[in-house]
């Protein structure tokens, strides 16, 4: 009984702090500035329908030449989180009839993080194209 209580309490607190940690990581991305190439995306994300920009950024990310090895794990993780938020948004909109500002802000943060990943990929590809780097992982 004692162990079960400890387990339940620890699970709740760990999940709570885990979510806050993940969100702090997302928000920390917003401290970084986008480069000239993706600045317009940043303005779009900040716009009135900015929370819907994630799909578009994802599509741009896929068509941008990829030089690194390995899968796009960060983007996949973000995509999963954005789909979860979109699902919650749809449910709440059906119930309340209006959009939830917290979910919209969270989806904007997701889109911004995705734009940063796209930005990194464009920068690496451009540097490789002009011959500044030969090893894309550097």
């Amino acid at each position: 009984m004692h162990a079960l209580l400890v387990l339940v309490l620890a699970s709740i607190l760990t999940a709570y702090l885990g979510i806050r940690y993940w969100r702090a990581m997302l928000w920390s991305a917003s401290q970084q500035r986008l480069s000239e190439a993706t600045r317009e995306l940043g303005a779009w994300i900040e716009g009135p329908e900015g929370e819907k920009s994630f799909a578009m950024i994802c599509a741009l990310f896929r068509v941008c030449p990829k030089l690194e090895r390995g899968s796009d794990r960060k983007m996949m993780l973000l995509g999963g989180y954005d789909r979860l938020l979109a699902g919650m948004e749809r449910l709440l909109r059906q119930r309340d009839g209006e959009r939830n500002p917290w979910l919209a802000a969270e989806r904007r943060a997701c889109a911004y993080f995705a734009a940063l990943l796209l930005d990194q990929r464009i920068t690496t590809t451009s540097r490789w194209y002009v011959g500044e780097v030969t090893d894309p992982s550097s």
């Binding site: 607190l13 760990t14 702090a24 928000w27």
Partner: protein
């Protein structure tokens, strides 16, 4: 016996610990996190010591068993002190550091008595049993204390991203270890539990390595939005 998984997790954790200590020596802004850096240095020293004892005496030896449980208890105690140091720093900024010291001493005293009482009640007055009970209690108290620090940060709307990440990382670590201990009590035969403590052990230095190297002291975060309170 240690398998490739344990060794890989151990190596990743150890390298991250060395990285955090070296970065802490280099970066002046990390001086205010002294107690944390000392704790991570102790972790790295412990990795070397435990590995050499393991090599010399073997995994199932009494020497390794005693060393493992006692070093775990001492390290958890050090970590507890590090978290109390963080707590004290936040209180000091509010001019209330004396209360934290008193509270920490009371919690520690209570935990020692509690661990001794539990061991006595179970009629297993073994030194290792005491160390296990003590670690378990410290993890639990550490989790509650870290959560308290988080609430304090939230209450103050403290926007320092580095502090937020450090506190959350410790909270997840304490929580994960508490979950592992509780699960072990409920399901003693569950073999998957073997993986949880080393993974949590690697999580802490890895997250600290990310925080000290990628997040500057000046980085700020809208904490009320992060926690969903306005």
């Amino acid at each position: 016996m240690l398998g490739p998984f344990d060794l890989a997790v151990w190596l990743v954790g150890f390298l991250a610990e060395v990285f955090v200590v070296l970065w802490g020596l280099r970066d002046r802004s990390l001086r205010q996190y002294r107690s944390l850096i000392v704790y991570v240095a102790a972790l790295a020293a412990n990795e070397i010591l435990s590995f050499s004892i393991l090599q010399r005496y073997g995994f199932s030896s009494n020497e390794y068993l005693y060393y493992y449980y006692y070093s775990d208890a001492v390290l958890t105690l050090l970590m507890f002190v590090a978290i109390a140091g963080l707590c004290s720093r936040i209180f000091r900024e509010q001019g209330r550091s004396g209360r934290v010291r008193a509270l920490t001493m009371v919690i520690l005293g209570t935990l020692v008595l509690y661990a001794a009482a539990v061991t006595e009640v179970k009629h297993q007055l073994l030194a290792t049993r005491f160390a296990v009970e003590f670690s378990e209690s410290l993890y639990f108290a550490g989790m509650i204390l870290t959560y308290g620090v988080w609430i304090l940060l939230l209450k103050r709307r403290d926007p320092r991203l580095r502090l937020v990440l450090v506190v959350s990382a410790f909270g997840i670590y304490f929580g994960g270890q508490t979950i592992a201990y509780a699960l072990r009590l409920i399901f003693p035969a569950l073999s998957a539990l073997h993986y949880l403590p080393p993974l949590m052990g690697a999580w802490l230095p890895l997250s600290l390595a990310y925080t000290v190297s990628k997040v500057s002291e000046e980085a700020r975060i809208p904490l009320e939005q992060l926690a969903g309170v306005y």
